[in-house]
Every structure is written in C-alpha cells, then in structure tokens.
Symmetry: C5
Amino acid sequence: MDIFQVVDTLVCTLRVSGLDHCSLRVLRDAKGKLQVATDPVGVRPGNWVFTVNGSAGRYAMGDAKILTDLTIGGIIDDWDSDAAPV
Amino acid sequence: MDIFQVVDTLVCTLRVSGLDHCSLRVLRDAKGKLQVATDPVGVRPGNWVFTVNGSAGRYAMGDAKILTDLTIGGIIDDWDSDAAPV
Amino acid sequence: MDIFQVVDTLVCTLRVSGLDHCSLRVLRDAKGKLQVATDPVGVRPGNWVFTVNGSAGRYAMGDAKILTDLTIGGIIDDWDSDAAPV
Amino acid sequence: MDIFQVVDTLVCTLRVSGLDHCSLRVLRDAKGKLQVATDPVGVRPGNWVFTVNGSAGRYAMGDAKILTDLTIGGIIDDWDSDAAPV
Amino acid sequence: MDIFQVVDTLVCTLRVSGLDHCSLRVLRDAKGKLQVATDPVGVRPGNWVFTVNGSAGRYAMGDAKILTDLTIGGIIDDWDSDAAPV
C-alpha cells in the first residue's frame, strides 16, 4: 500500500459506466508522481492517505463492480511529510 | 489509475484474437513513457485521460474476454498539463 | 517478493472496513521509498522483512477478506544492510 | 500494454512444467530494460511489439494453464523508434 | 517475466504459514535491485534465471496455496551478463 497526499478532485464527465457516481481524487506521492484513486472515505486536499491497489481496491469500495485499480484505504492520523523521502 | 495524454492510434494488423476489433491508443505519461491502452470511450489525440489497469481494465471494456491490461477509463475535463510534474 | 526494513507502526483511525483491526506497518526499501503493509507476523522497528503483494498478500493474512495489497511474509534472520544496493 | 523491440529467443532448457513448449522471447524497452515474454504470434528479432501482462497474458496464449505473466499481443505495423522516448 | 542472477538463499525462520518449507532465493537484477522468489527448479548462486510474477507464480509452484508473488520459471542456458543493460 502506498502513501500519497490528496491534491484535488478529478473532474471527469465522460467516463466508463463502471466508474459512474464515484468520487475520483488526484493524489501525489513523495516524488511528485500523480495517480487517480476512488475515495470511499471522504478525504480533503492536503490529507495524507494510504491506497490499496488491484482487486483489493475494488473490494474496498464495498462493491466489486466499481472498476477502479486504486482505492483510498484510510487517512493517516499524523504524517510528518518532511520525513517522507524523495 | 494513471494519467496520460493520447498520442495516436496504434496500427497493428497482426494481433492475438482476444484483441480483435479493439481500438488501441498510444498514450504518453508526464515523463514521456509510452503505453498502449484499449479505448471504450472514443478519445482524440491530445486528450488527457486516466486509465484502469489489471482485471478491472478488462471489465471496463464491457466484455471480460477482451485481453487488455490497460483501458481508458475517462477523459479529464480540464487538465493543466503544466501542473503535471516531470 | 521485496525486501524492506520496518520503520514504524502506521496510526490510521479512519480506514475502510476491510482493514479494521489490522496492524499496519510503514516499511522502507533500500532506496528509501516507503510502503505500508499488513503484519500477521508481529515485527518490530528495525527488523528486515520480505513482503508478499497482490492476492497472495490477502491470503497470507489468513483471511482473504482483509483488503491489503501488501503483507509481511517473514522476518529475515540475518540481513547485512550494507550489502543492500542503493 | 507496453511497447518493446524483440531482441532474440531465450534458450532455457530447464523450466517449470507450465511453460513447456512455449516460445520465449527477450524484449527490450525504450530504456534498454529487458523482459521475457511468451509468443503466440511468431515474431522476429527487430519487430516492435506490444505486450499484455497479468492474467490477460495467460488467456492471450489461448490456454490459461500456460504460466506466463507477459505475452506478446501483436506486431506493430510501422513504428518510428526514433520517436520512442528514452 | 524478468531476468535475474541468483545471489543466495534467504534464511528466514519466522514466516507466514503459506510459505512453510519453501526454498526462498535472493535475486539481483541488472540494476542491482534485490528481490525474493520461491524456487521450484533448484538453482545455484550465479545462475541467471527468469521469474514469473502474480497468480501465475503461485501456480508455477505446483500448489496454488503457496503464497508467493514471484517464482523462478527456469534457468537460462547461456546468458551474456555483459550484454545486460544497466
């Protein structure tokens, strides 16, 4: 499971039907690489989160028909971003 | 899920039977790395998209017999490519 | 399977239900990259461990309903960290 | 799906039973990294191909008992290698 | 499938039950990165091997209950390590 900071919500009107009605978030890792994840938790920009990938990420949405490959698994209580390596 | 810009359509006459009749697109990420994805959405060169990998990518084609490992999940409405990190 | 050193326990109050009651550890690889893994073994900071990813990682928890993508598979008896390449 | 150039056939007498009788090819990506893939298509050194990974790669062999994680999905008709980024 | 050179056997007394009685090998790729793999073939330090990852790696052990994510698929007959790119 990877550690990311939430950047923003992804606005995406035209999407495949298996991702209808899902909240999509743009995340950034310690190196600056961006990823998109589904969000069953309800995060805000600036939160540090960890993510679950692959089939476990689908199950983590509570509905395996949601066609994600990356889901936010939780919000980290207290993360010292300065300690995160680059 | 990853973020890419659509480069072009991939022309590929000789392919395995599980990918017959699929539109294949060449995508480029923020670092310039190229990937190939199946396209159930109908994208155009220059569009910014996000992709779904693994088994979720097969289901996203609407037919799990399509043997892709990467499928375009949607077109991003408004993407500031200058903000994308290298 | 990858080799990591255990850094600390991840404190994460708000998480998806499939990860309730799991011990989560922050791990660091030879390049300094951090990952989060579930821990069925009982590790301590400083231990060198190897991890199992994907669906095998779920099964390694002894309960495939645990929605992890990375599980600690064992503690390495004697690891010469100086020999680990950067 | 990734883009590679075919380097050579891999000669490998001693292998697990799930890969008996498979043609194995050594592929090189734009950065020079080598990978091994099963070949249901019949490629020649120098061809540019795209590959399918994971379980889709097994199905692409036409026999899911073949224990590959990477299968050549097709030969690209016309690839400008100079355009491939490093 | 990836190409590695066998470094050594991994000594790991405390491990999850799904990996009991498995031979674990430390492998090094062309860039020096280390990985751990299960070994159904019987390799020796210095051998060049290719590996199978994911669920195919479990099946390659001949027993899908073995909770590996990387299995040695075969020993390469004749590998020119100088030709391996860094």
